[in-house]
Amino acid sequence: MTFLDVRRLDVEHAAADVALAMDEDAFRAFYDRTAGALWGYLSRISGDRQVADDLLQEAYYRLLKSTTAFESESHRRNYLYRIATNLVNDSRRGARPLFESGIDVTDIPAPEAHATVERRADVRRAMGLLKPRERAMLWLAYAQGSSHSEIAEVLGLKTGSIKLLLFRARRKLAGLLQREVAR
């Protein structure tokens, strides 16, 4: 056996002995429970569906490679959202303008289509004018139903500051929505 054979065996052994944080069944069940909601979070925080597609898999990969010992399902989910938030922040540098994608009207009944599309466009434009952290905070609170402590964990903020920050973000979004409607 040559030195190169030994090296080849080392590489093959290392490749076969990959340690991920979850087994396949547990991962797939967790993914099926969380992927749709995480995609929604990523697409609305980044404002870009393509970015959401790319970052979704990266977020799950980083979760699988993490060595953190999770105490519960919600701890794992919050950690995943924190990874996703950081990925969006990293990808934002040099990104395209936010919230310029069109709205798909195919799932909206015809009589409601015009008003609904207009309303969605208002909401999307208003959200695009928020700071990324404000968008993330409001999304976690109202779309995900996250508690203040969960929002703090995901965004890396103090739990005590969330109430005030949410209050301000709500007022800002309401003001922006009024402005959009008045246009």
Binding site: L20, E24, A35, Q57
Partner: protein, 145 residues
Amino acid sequence: MSLRSRPGPELTDAQIEAIVADAIATEASSARAEAAPPSSAIVWWRAQMRARQEAARAVERPLTIVHGLAIACAAGLALSLIGTAVAGVRGSTGWLLGVYQSLRAALAPLSAVDFTSGWMMVPMTAVLVSLVVASLAAVFILVDE
């Protein structure tokens, strides 16, 4: 609660909360309709492949460093030997002449030896065969690598 029906400037906290909740709910339902994440099987398989590639790269990296160090040491040794040799030649050409004369004197008895005789052919052939076998072995090792 629709903002279009009541766009008044003075809104209470409860009204603001309701407007924001309604707006985000609208976007959330839109996002749910759009979401088409890849299947869990595909994501798991890609994660496995990527983790294996990274593990293999991590094993190969230290060996590459050792190879680099070995090549650097060999190159340094070769350069120092060349430098010493050049300095020696420049320092005294008489020394080189002395070596030549010594070698000539040492090899003088060999001129009396008959290399074509039978008893000299055996060791000469052995040396020749050894050189050929060593060369072939070196070629096979290099091809294997």
